[in-house]
Amino acid sequence: MSLERIVSRVTSNQSRKLAEGHKAIANAIGYLDEQFCQVEDLQDEASPNFVEEVVTLFFKDSGRLMSNIEQALDKYPRDFNRWDAYMQQLKGSCSSIGASRMKNECMSFRDSCGQGNVEGCMRSFQKVKREHAILRQKLESYFQLLRQAGPAGAATRPVM
């Protein structure tokens, strides 16, 4: 997600909270990619809370997927195909909302699967979980910020 983009998004209607805005921007950089912008673009009058809905859905579903993976790691040792299939689902979800860092960890998990590297899988999965938690935190604060800026915040941002 480009800095400029986030600046415009966060600062458009809330110069008062500039300091916090910067914080949110700094936090979001690297955790999200252009896909997130595309998702944001899809938000309009018809669905004013689209981004938040999608993100909520993402966290709900990715939580489920991650617990699936956790179970599979435990229940089916060295069943790399199964692990890989589950992780692919998670990766799909991540890429859909543009959760880039999480997606990268998913990919390294899948690489480990391909190499038959159990250690690597475990390590990557821990990282996926961590990224998941961080992203949740970041996005929550981001939405909070947007809500504080008022409903107009999203709708009136400048077109890029």
């Binding site: 595309q38 999608v54 859905l57 195909n81 299939a85 689902q89 799909g92 890429s95």
Partner: protein, 1075 residues
């Protein structure tokens, strides 16, 4: 007709013109709710009309129920309920909608799979709106191409060079003729202008009906190679259609061509399901992985296939050869049925003596998969007839007042252009077109085969016509149309009445008629599922009527209707119960009875009517039951009772069916049997009653033609029995009737000589063939070279090879290079062997798996790990599902070259791919674990398979038993043995003696008398006791310091002779008693 429909099509389209693609109806399928939500919103943003679902099954249901409700489908690849590829195939086959695949996985393999399964596009997640804005073009393309193809088809048929090269001809695909399908390409003109914004020049798009038509692109093997090579070269990220096309550099090729043609082809690609392991015989596949041996095995199989009047090539084989594959391949119902019908129309006439030309020689097998072998070849053939005979057809039809019905029919199924096309084929194939024989000129053996097929077919049709009044003939056709029109009731009456005279006046053979029935039915089965029910009912009604006719009018029972007279309910009820039987059928390999195979094939054709409702898995079993059910309609209740117990063995079942048919044939000896019928009959007799009866039958044949036709199956009997003397006498006898001009009899006898190690005689056969100007085929040369290697050394092999290269009649293919490689290996020249294999690789077809597996095993024999891996990876580009047998071969090879890790990985991918948990695949890995002494790993794998619901076979238990013995876990070993023995009902397994003795020895050393005793008792039950085992038992008593009881009696009871050592042991044991 076409012109009218086009004009009609313009009107409604014009109204929508301004809006399109606004409101285009898209069905989005993804199990991932996040993706689906984003995708939905993106599509809405593009102003499409979006329907979403998170289950592929629901999507399919929606599509089936509302055929015309969607313009385009976007589907995720990975979905838990149904693989996206499967959905793709089903959609592609049932409704001809463009499908875009969607996946997070951008691996070349997966994308290729999407393409080969017929996706019109493959998008990577996350999808961008720019991509989605453009997807409407696929809808337009689809409509365009279906329309355009018909013209081009026609054009091509007229302009096809008579001597097209074989690959070209084989790769030839004919597609729908939408003008007949009644699905006019609406919007065609309107969207022309919108078409070009993609920046890709699509030569096919801008077509003016008045402009000269462009020849259709033929998706030949060559093209496919280019395509795959281009994709590989570009890398999947950059492999956009435009660039692929640039690289392929083929004139007039558009991406539309590529996908659609390839889909068509895919469906028909022969899955050479021959279990390589089986084909290579029961011996250690590594040591004896001679190209020749495998080939021989395969060829033997081929010839049996030929005997059963099936053409030996892949697709036709596949239903019998590996019904599991057929069942689970995900080949959607209608497609496989098409195949069936194809096989029948094709195979039927091949009863002719000429048919042996279809039993293709080794080399062509690779190619076989491509063309003739496939139903495409068939399609093409029939299509040809259609085009050439269009006029005739219409006159015949209109002459019978049927033309209205016909077009009505076609229109009524207009929503799915594929279907009517097939229908048309099916119908028209039955209308004899003599010109087609003359027009095709022969350029290669394949073509020759095809021509023979068609001529054979024509022959039989002609014979029908000659005896049946035209009204009767067309009435037969009417049957089919009637069903489509859903006006069976009123047409049926007319049909039956007009059929009756036809039947009583014709003297068609049983086999012939049954096949006719099967094929006509097969065509009809292409109906969409909703009409299916009606058709079945119709079939049933017709059957009843037929029976009535038979009993009252005492006319010949026309078995044609036997096949079609199964009410669906009956079938449905049988299917579940007999699934087990189909399983067994799966396991029985190519040595299964020819007749059985053939019967099943036929029965399958009609049985598969239920597929849309049932599942393809049951294809064969339904076929099985279908047949007996109907046979019982022939007032032979005996069979029915036999069949009603579902536990009866499959072979037994088959035999009883055959017997019933034979006796039925006997009781109707007013049939005049044609030579080919004699041949079939001899085959049946040999199978059921044995060679001597077959000989007897052969002796009674009166005409030379019949004898000639029936000679091959008899020769094959001798060869199978390895009866050299009889085979030789028989060959000599054949010469008196004029030698068969084809090489197959000679190959047969050469195989016999090889099997009996009389290599010199092979050389004399070759000499004889040369002297008599009998063409040698690839197999002849391969056998010859092997014989040379055995007899006289490398120089003679090389001269034979040189001769082969100079022989214009044969094409040196991978099988020959494999043969050479094995010869070099035998002579210790590994580098030359590897070079041969490298060359063999270049000769591989991209449609048959056999060659890949074969070369792979050769590499394994040479311990070339890279070669094995390369071939395995390359074989994945062969379209279609990879059969379990191929996974097994790959695993075996990988284990052989010491790469168990990769074998495990391969196993994993098999597991991910397959729905059934075939324990034979895991046995391969299990064996490797045990041989490496990794018993824990083996146990884990075993448990894993059990968890998955696999049924261990005796081999599983034997492997485990061995592993437990190795690791001294004797309790478990005995348990495994017991489990294995508990399967004895279905097989003749005996635990290996050395394992039994090892267990007994262990108990002896440990002095565990109780265990040893229990062990012996188990073995006693199965008659497995032996003197060494008893010695160990006694030893156990001695070591445990316990007095044995009854052991001499037990030994006597088992009728085992004592020896001196045993006597001494007994005394020793008794001594302890005394002291």
């Amino acid at each position: 007709m076409r012109a009218v429909e086009e004009r009609k099509g313009v009107v409604p389209a014009a109204r929508r013109r301004d809006q399109f693609p606004v409101g285009m109806r898209v069905l989005a399928v993804d199990d991932d709710p996040v993706c689906l939500k984003v995708l939905e919103t993106l599509l809405l943003r593009c102003q499409y009309h979006v329907t979403t679902t998170n289950q592929a099954a629901i999507a399919l249901k929606m599509l089936r129920e509302n055929r015309d409700m969607f313009d385009l489908v976007i589907s995720d690849v990975h979905m838990p309920d149904m693989d996206g590829f499967k959905l793709l195939e089903l959609v592609g086959l049932e409704m001809d909608l463009p499908v875009i695949m969607l996946s997070v996985n951008g691996e070349t393999k997966t994308v290729l799979k999407g393409i080969t399964h017929g996706a019109c596009d493959y998008l990577l997640k996350p999808v961008r709106i720019e991509e989605l804005r453009n997807i409407w073009q696929h809808v337009i393309r689809r409509k365009f191409s279906t329309r355009d193809r018909a013209n081009l088809d026609f054009y091509e048929e007229c302009n096809k060079p008579p001597n097209a090269d074989s690959d070209h001809v084989h790769g030839h695909v004919t597609c729908g003729s939408p003008d007949q399908s009644g699905r006019p390409s609406k919007k065609r003109k309107e969207y022309c202008s919108e078409e070009e914004d993609e920046g890709e020049v699509n030569t096919q798009d801008i077509d003016d009906p008045s402009a000269p038509k462009k020849p259709r692109v033929v998706w030949s093997v060559e093209l496919h190679r280019k395509f795959v090579a281009a994709v590989n070269q570009l890398g999947i990220d950059k492999a956009v259609p435009k660039r692929i096309l640039e690289l392929m550099n083929v004139e007039k090729l558009t991406r539309e061509n590529k996908y659609r043609l390839y889909l068509k082809r895919l469906s028909a690609v022969a899955s050479q399901q021959v279990s390589i392991v089986a084909a290579l015989g029961g011996r250690d596949p590594f040591l004896h992985m001679g190209g020749f041996e495998g080939l021989q095995g395969y060829q033997a199989f081929n010839s049996s296939a030929a005997l059963s009047s099936f053409t030996p090539h892949g697709l036709l084989n596949s239903p019998r050869n590996n019904p599991a594959a057929l069942g689970t391949q995900g080949v959607p119902a209608s497609k496989s049925i098409q195949t069936m019908s194809g096989s029948h129309t094709l195979s039927h006439p091949i009863n002719d003596a000429n048919k042996y030309h279809l039993s293709l020689p080794g080399n062509q097998k690779g190619n076989l998969g491509q063309g003739l072998a496939t139903s495409l070849g068939h399609t093409q053939m029939q299509q040809k007839w259609i085009h050439e005979e269009t006029d005739d057809l219409s006159t015949i039809l209109s002459g019978n007042g049927l033309s209205n019905g016909m077009s009505g029919t076609l229109q009524s199924v207009s929503s799915s252009p594929l279907l009517p096309q097939e229908l048309a084929e099916c119908t028209q194939a039955k209308i004899v077109s003599q010109p087609s024989i003359r027009t095709s000129s022969v350029s290669s053996e394949h073509i020759e085969g095809a021509v023979r097929v068609s001529s054979g077919l024509l022959e039989s049709r002609v014979s029908q016509q000659s005896t049946i009044p035209l009204s009767g003939f067309s009435a037969n056709e009417l049957l089919i149309h009637g069903s489509f029109n859903n006006t069976c009731a009123n047409k049926l009456g007319g049909t039956s009445s007009s059929c009756a005279p036809a039947r009583s006046s014709n003297d068609l053979m049983v086999a012939r008629d049954t096949k006719g029935g099967a094929s006509s039915f097969g065509g009809a089965m292409l109906l969409p599922p909703d009409t299916e029910q009606k058709y079945l009912n119709f079939g049933g009604g017709n059957g009843l009527k037929q029976k009535f006719d038979d009993r009252t009018a005492d006319s010949l029972f026309d078995p044609k209707f036997v096949w079609s007279s199964v009410p669906s309910s009956q079938l449905a009820s049988n299917i579940g119960a007999h699934h087990a039987m189909s399983q067994r059928w799966n396991n029985s390999s190519s040595n299964s009875s020819n007749i059985g195979a053939r019967m099943i094939g036929q029965a399958t054709s009609s049985g598969s009517t239920v597929i849309p409702q049932m599942k393809t898995d049951f294809l064969v079993s339904s076929g099985d039951m279908l047949m007996p059910k109907n046979t019982s309609d022939l007032s032979i209740p005996k069979l029915q009772s036999e069949l009603s117990s579902s536990s009866c063995s499959f072979d037994g079942l088959l035999n009883s069916i055959v017997k019933v048919i034979l006796s039925w044939m006997d009781s109707h000896n007013d049939f005049r049997l044609s030579p080919s019928d004699h041949m079939v009959r001899l085959e049946l007799i040999a199978k059921v009653h044995g060679t001597s009866q077959a000989e007897e039958y052969y002796r009674k044949l009166s005409t030379a033609a019949s004898k000639k036709a029936a000679s091959f199956p008899l020769l094959h009997c001798y060869v199978t029995e390895r009866n050299v003397q009889k085979a030789e006498t028989f060959m000599a006898e054949l010469q008196r009737y004029g030698l068969p001009v084809d090489p197959h009899s000679f190959n047969e006898i050469m195989k016999l000589y090889v099997a009996t190690c009389q290599y010199e005689k092979v050389l004399s056969v070759i000499y004889l063939m040369k002297r008599n100007n009998i063409p040698r085929n690839v197999l002849s040369y391969n056998i010859w070279m092997n014989a040379c290697a055995e007899v006289s050394g490398l120089a003679s092999v090389q001269s034979a090879f040189k001769e082969m290269l100079n022989d214009d009649m044969v094409e040196v293919g991978w099988s020959t290079y494999c043969t050479l490689a094995n010869i070099f290996k035998k002579y210790g020249q590994s580098s030359k062997a590897l070079a041969c294999l490298r060359t063999a690789e270049t000769k591989l077809s991209s449609t048959g798996r056999l060659g890949y597996s074969f070369i792979m095993t050769c590499y394994a024999a040479l311990n070339d790990r890279d070669g094995v891996i390369r071939l395995w990876e390359a074989s994945k580009s062969v379209p279609g599902r990879i059969p379990a047998a191929n996974y097994m071969t790959a695993m075996v090879c990988l284990i052989k070259v010491g790469d168990i890790g990769r074998a495990e990985w391969t196993f994993g991918s098999w597991e991910a791919e397959s729905k059934k948990h075939d324990v034979r695949v895991s046995n391969v890995l299990l064996g490797a674990y045990v041989r490496n002494g990794w018993i824990e790993k083996a146990e884990r794998l075993h448990l894993h398979m059990l968890e998955k619901g696999a049924h261990p076979n005796y081999k599983t238990w034997e492997i485990l038993m061995e592993g437990f013995v190795q690791s001294k876990q004797m309790d478990k070993a005995v348990n495994a043995m017991k489990k294995g023995l508990s399967l004895l009902k279905t097989c003749h397994w005996r635990p290996p003696l050395e394992l039994l003795e090892a267990i007994a020895k262990y108990f002896e050393e440990q002095g565990s008398v109780e265990d040893a005793d229990r062990f012996i008792k188990v073995l006693q039950k199965f008659n497995l006791t032996s003197l060494p085992l008893y010695k160990s038992l006694l030893g156990a008593y001695i070591n445990a310091d316990i007095v044995p009881q009854n052991i001499p009696q037990m030994i006597a009871g088992d009728q085992i002779d004592m020896d001196e050592e045993m006597d001494q042991l007994i005394i020793r044991a008794s001594k302890i008693d005394i002291t």
